[in-house]
Each structure stands twice: as structure tokens, then as C-alpha cells.
């Protein structure tokens, strides 16, 4: 008896009929096994005292001493826990708050533009930063915000400040800078989703509003925004799920020893301990903690959305 016999003849027939669809699923299946589920084995590392031995990964992996939640306790009790969590949460919430609204505004504004060439240029230009690597993007920001950079020169020209503001050196500016950089990089890309959603709105709605006497602003308020709501809710769920996933590159590249108290987030922290100091088990525990919180957040927001009778993700 193999598994095939457990499937009813009708189902068997359907599977055979749809064999090419199943075939198309194979790459995605392999991908998730290899890159999503496979590495989860490594989570075991968070619960042992892993000491790397050259050339003997598996024996040192499974031979490591089981220590339970020791690494988690160490992380929660550590001096830096509060600081790291604060930086991660505040910076992330700020990034979402700004980075979430701007694409909607861009999409709605672009939708009002009647001059197609201008619309296309704006769309392309705002889309481009998405393809720039953070190494370059971070350097652009560091240069712009340096003591004799463009921003300071402008501020002085406008008489808003006499001495250069040390943006990159003073930690209190860091969250804003990262939020701005995140927004700038992703706004064009994210606005495409909204533009697509707007394009699918039945034009009759706008015509009815015009006959009713609603201007552009009223049309946006009564038609565009409500029609975008399902898209907004779904993207918000996804964004909140990523609340602790601040991203690593921008913090690593924009952060420095002077603004460390503001720029050190879960990802950079895990990186520093795991790779730079060789505390693999500790870094794994920090990473796992992040994933669990993210998972709970997604579930929470999704059920909230469902209770609000809005669109939920699942």
C-alpha cells in the first residue's frame, strides 16, 4: 500500500488532470523546504551551548550541551535589552507611520495628474531608489547629512541654523533619518500597489460623484480612500507583522559608535554577538525571540481586522 491508494479515485483523476499545475508548484515547494523550513532546524542552536569546531559542524551541533532557555534569560536580563527593544520598536513604528502613509498620498496625487508624461516620470523617479542597494543609499544620506553636506548648507542658507547640525553624530536624529530613508527607498514601489487598486475602481463612481457635485477632494474622501481600504488593511497587517523586522542594512550602515544608543536594533545586536563575537547560540535566541513576537503580531492584527469586519489576510 502506498499513499496513492489512500486517495479516492475521483481525487486521483483530478490530480492527474491538473498535473501541470502541481508541477508548477514544485519550485515553490522546494524553495520553502530549502530556505524557509530547512533552516528552522538551526533554531535548535538557541537551546544549546554551541561551540563551533572547524570541519565538524554536525557533531558540534548535535553534541552541544542542552541549556534550555538560558540564552533567552540572559538576553531578557541584560542591560541592553530595554535599549534594543526601544530602538527597534520606536524606529520601526516611526518608519511604518511615515512609510505607510506616503505611498498612499503619492498614489492618490498621481491619480489626479492628467498629464500622462509627467505622471510616468514621477512614477519612475520615485520607483528607482527601490533598486539602489542600501550601501549606496546610506552613503547618499550620510553625505547629504554631513556637517558640510547639502542639508546643512540649505539650512544655513535659509537662516534656520548658524552652526551645522550633527545629524549623524547625535543619536536623537537617528530614528527620523532611518524612517525618512526607509520611506524614500520604498515609497515608489509601494505606491504601485495603490495605483493598481485605484485603477480598478469603477469610473462610474467618480462620475456619479461629479453629477452629485463632489470636487476632487470629496471624491478622494468618499470614493478613492474607502475603495483603497481593503488594500490598506492588508498591507498594514503585513507591515505590523514586520514590526520587529526593522531590516539590518540601513541600521548597520547608518549607525555608528556615536549614535549606537539609538541605532542598535535586534538585527544589528544579533549580528554583533553572533557573527562578530562568535556567540552563535545567543544570537539564535535573539533571532528566534524576534520571529515569535512577529508571528504573534501578525495573528493579533489579523484577528483584529477580522473582528472589524474588514478584510483579513487569512
Amino acid at each position: 500500500m502506498n499513499a496513492w491508494h489512500w486517495i479516492s479515485p475521483a481525487k486521483r483523476k483530478r490530480i492527474i488532470k491538473q498535473r501541470y499545475l502541481y508541477l508548477m508548484l514544485v519550485p515553490a515547494f522546494l524553495w520553502s523546504v530549502l530556505f524557509a523550513y530547512g533552516p528552522m532546524v538551526g533554531l535548535y542552536m538557541a537551546f544549546i551551548d554551541y561551540q563551533p569546531t572547524l570541519g565538524k559542524f554536525w557533531s558540534s551541533f548535535f553534541g552541544g550541551k542542552f541549556v534550555g532557555l538560558q540564552w533567552f534569560n540572559l538576553f531578557f536580563a541584560g542591560d541592553e535589552f530595554f535599549l534594543i527593544m526601544r530602538n527597534t520598536l520606536v524606529s520601526s513604528v516611526l518608519s511604518i507611520a511615515i512609510g505607510f502613509v506616503v505611498p498612499i498620498v503619492i498614489a492618490m496625487a498621481l491619480n489626479e495628474v492628467r498629464y500622462m508624461a509627467f505622471k510616468r516620470v514621477v512614477q519612475t523617479v520615485s520607483y528607482m531608489p527601490y533598486f539602489i542597494s542600501w550601501v549606496i543609499a546610506a552613503n547618499i544620506f550620510v553625505t547629504l547629512l554631513s556637517a558640510d553636506g547639502l542639508v546643512n548648507e540649505l539650512l544655513k542658507l535659509l537662516g534656520l541654523t548658524r552652526d551645522s547640525i550633527l545629524f549623524m553624530q547625535e543619536g536623537r536624529y537617528f530614528w527620523g533619518i532611518v524612517a525618512g530613508a526607509n520611506t524614500w527607498k520604498d515609497m515608489g514601489y509601494n505606491s504601485i500597489i495603490y495605483l493598481a487598486a485605484i485603477a480598478s475602481i469603477n469610473p462610474e463612481l467618480y462620475e456619479a460623484a461629479r453629477v452629485d457635485g463632489a470636487g476632487r477632494v470629496k471624491q478622494a474622501a468618499y470614493i478613492t480612500l474607502p475603495m483603497l481600504k481593503p488594500t490598506i488593511v492588508i498591507l498594514l497587517i503585513l507591515a505590523v507583522g514586520n514590526l520587529l523586522n526593522t531590516g539590518f542594512d540601513q541600521y548597520y550602515l547608518l549607525g555608528n559608535s556615536l549614535n549606537r544608543d539609538y541605532s542598535d536594533v535586534l538585527d544589528t545586536y544579533a549580528f554583533r554577538y553572533g557573527l562578530q563575537n562568535g556567540m552563535f547560540s545567543y544570537a539564535s535566541a535573539v533571532g528566534l525571540f524576534k520571529s515569535i513576537v512577529a508571528f504573534l503580531l501578525v495573528l493579533g492584527v489579523n484577528s483584529l481586522a477580522r473582528r472589524m469586519k474588514s478584510n483579513s489576510l487569512f
Binding site: N202, E204, L205, E207, A208, R210, V211, G213, K218, M227
Partner: protein, 375 residues
């Protein structure tokens, strides 16, 4: 109040070879229920949308109440429009949907309340006022859309296929309600549909369009009895009018419609149309199914006016039955008593009520009878 004049109006879309609306020239009287009808793509919606101000007029003048409105925005035209897909504001309640147009026009709050409630009572949607559009059925949504139009108390109602998303029963019911509402409100209404039954039952006057061009403007009865051309004759009426190809010959001062199988006397009131030189021209004789008659073939010599035919199939609609008979290469539909049963391949005789038939020039499609009348 509420009269409309189209003065040689054209609509040309960019990149389209022929105009979507071609020389639309028509006056609509105050209080009229005018229906624009025609196949899909014939320019009905475009015409209505130009009237609404949602589409620019390429050429010609448009007047509402003798006021030149070519460049007036929709909200300033004193019109209200009902759309095919209801077009309700998705996040506003039914009450707010009906009220918004009034609110935007700065109507006093208690006045809005009064009007919305009155309209809701007329349309029997009072119990739905608190709901959102996505909690309504299609029929209810369309009532709300009607309510939104009525509450504004405009001079002109415009409706673009408002019933085509409803199921058959609801469509008939809502159709009756719109007719009743219009006769009570006595407001000029321009109604677009592709459905000739809807057009015939609703309009006090009907405009038949094809390829952007007006084919005929007439009250329903006249459209049915005196179609101006082949297109109108074929479009109005279900089942379709039968078209029989032939030519006209003259013998002893009398005209006959002839082809390989038939020779039928042309009634005298059509003579003026044939008196001009019509030699060698092909004609089409149009006969409605109710103007044809069947009887059993006795097998004797052909009597005058009766033509041999055989039954192809029978369609029973309940009150009537339609027999499809073959007459050479031609199929002719005959309305008969449903009690008489005809089987496939039955041999029968068919005749036509010649004083009711229509003649058209095959080339131009124009009615010969009307041309004759004009002479």
C-alpha cells in the same frame, strides 16, 4: 423646465475613424420620457454622457432649457443620473448616499432629512436607510441609486441601462416602478437601453440608433408599425420581422412582389413608392410573424396569395407559438395558435396580410412606403 435641444451634435474620440455620435439632432420636450435604444456600441451612452457633461462635445450645441450648456460642468446642469452599476458611495450609509448630493448643494439639514425620508418612503427603502451598500441586494442598490437621483429634484433624469444588472423578474418590476415614478414626477427623462422591449414599454418617444447615427425617432406604436428602414424593422419586435428578398414587376397597371417562389400583389397604398423608375432594383418585403397565416396544404393547384412551405420547427412561448417554416432558401416565422400542432417537415401553405407588410429598398435599406408617403 427641462427641455433639451441637441443641435447637430458630434462626438469624435481620439484615434477613432468614425464619430461615436454622428449628427445627433433632436429636441426633447419638457416631461418627456425619451428612450435611446440600439445595439451595444451604437453611441447611446456617449450621447447621454454628453448630455450629463461627463463627456466633451466635439461639435454642435447642446441646450437645456434654452441655456447653452456645452461647457457647463455636470453639477451645474440640474440633472441627476442613474448608472448601470449603481455607483453608490461604498462607505456611506443609504441615508448618506441619498443625502450627499443635497449636502454638497448646501441644502438645509432639516430639508435634507425631509426629502430623504420622503424619497425612501416612495421607493420603500425606509428600513434600509442605516445600511451600507454592501449589505444590499442588486435591486435594493438600484432603488437607492434612484432615490439619490430623485431626492435632488433635478430638471432632467438620465439613466444608463439601470436595469441590466437585475434578474428578469426584478427588472420587470423595477421597470414598472420607473414608469410610474416618471409619470408622477413629470420630469424629463432620458433613458438608455439596448433592450427593445424596455424601450417599447417605457418610452413616450424612442430614438433608435446605429453606428452613432439616429435611425428613427418615433413613439413606440409608430416605430413598430412604420419602421423607417430595415434596421429599425429588424431591431424592434420579437421575434424579428421576416425579410423576404425579391423584386417588383408591373402588370396591367398593378404591382406584384415576385421572386422564384412567390408572386404577391402589392397593396395600392404602396404604389407611389414604386411609381418611380425602379427597374431591376431588389426589394425586401418585411412581414411581422403575426401578419402571416398558415393553413393545411390540400395538394391542389396553388391559390393566389398562398405559398407552399414546410415546417422547420415550432417554438411555444405560452400564449403564442411561433412556427418556423421553410420557403425555398428562406425561413419565415409565423405566429400561430398554440393549440394547432405542427410537426417538422409538415407541408403547409403560408400567406401574408399584404396590407400590413413593409417594403424596403435592399441597397439603402430605406422603407419604400415612407418615401411614398412623402411624395
Amino acid at each position: 423646465m427641462g427641455s433639451i435641444t441637441f443641435n447637430h451634435v458630434y462626438k469624435r474620440y481620439k484615434g477613432e475613424a468614425r464619430p461615436a455620435v454622428n449628427d445627433f439632432h433632436l429636441s426633447i420636450e419638457e416631461g418627456e420620457f425619451l428612450v435611446l435604444v440600439g445595439p451595444s456600441g451604437c453611441g447611446k451612452s456617449t450621447t447621454l454622457r454628453m448630455l450629463a457633461g461627463l463627456e466633451e462635445i466635439s461639435e454642435g450645441d447642446l441646450y437645456i432649457d434654452d441655456k447653452y450648456v456645452n461647457y457647463l460642468s455636470p453639477k451645474d446642469r440640474d440633472i441627476a443620473m442613474v448608472f448601470q452599476n449603481y455607483a453608490l458611495y461604498p462607505n456611506l450609509s443609504v441615508y448618506e448616499n441619498i443625502a450627499l448630493g443635497l449636502k454638497l448643494r448646501k441644502t438645509a439639514k432639516h430639508d435634507i432629512e425631509l426629502r430623504v425620508n420622503r424619497v425612501a418612503r416612495i421607493l420603500e427603502i425606509s428600513h434600509l436607510l442605516g445600511r451600507k451598500p454592501n449589505q444590499l441586494s442588486g435591486g435594493q442598490k438600484q432603488r437607492v441609486a434612484l432615490g439619490r437621483a430623485i431626492a435632488r429634484e433635478p430638471q432632467v433624469f438620465l439613466m444608463d441601462e439601470p436595469l441590466s444588472n437585475l434578474d428578469a423578474k426584478l427588472r420587470a418590476q423595477t421597470r414598472a416602478e420607473i414608469i410610474k415614478l416618471q409619470s408622477e414626477l413629470k420630469r424629463t427623462t432620458v433613458y438608455v437601453t439596448h433592450d427593445q422591449v424596455e424601450a417599447m414599454t417605457m418610452g413616450t418617444r424612442i430614438v433608435v440608433m446605429k453606428d452613432g447615427i439616429i435611425q428613427q425617432v418615433a413613439p413606440p406604436r409608430e416605430l413598430y408599425d412604420q419602421p423607417a428602414n430595415l434596421f429599425v424593422a429588424g431591431f424592434i419586435g420579437s421575434p424579428q420581422m421576416n425579410f423576404i428578398q425579391g423584386s417588383v414587376t408591373r402588370e396591367d397597371g398593378r404591382f406584384y412582389f415576385v421572386n422564384k417562389r412567390i408572386k404577391l400583389p402589392v397593396p395600392e397604398h404602396h404604389y407611389p413608392g414604386f411609381n418611380r423608375d425602379r427597374n431591376g432594383i431588389s426589394f425586401i418585403m418585411g412581414v411581422r410573424p403575426e401578419h402571416a397565416l398558415l393553413k393545411a396544404d390540400t395538394g391542389r393547384e396553388e391559390e393566389e396569395g398562398w405559398v407552399r412551405c414546410e415546417v422547420e420547427m415550432t417554438e411555444i412561448t405560452g400564449a403564442d407559438s411561433y412556427v418556423y417554416v421553410r420557403l425555398g432558401e428562406q425561413t419565415v416565422i409565423v405566429r400561430t395558435d398554440p393549440d394547432k400542432l405542427h410537426r417538422k417537415d409538415d407541408k403547409l401553405l403560408v400567406s401574408f396580410a399584404m396590407n400590413k407588410v413593409h417594403f424596403f429598398e435592399e441597397q439603402s435599406g430605406d422603407s419604400v412606403s415612407l418615401k411614398g408617403d412623402a411624395q
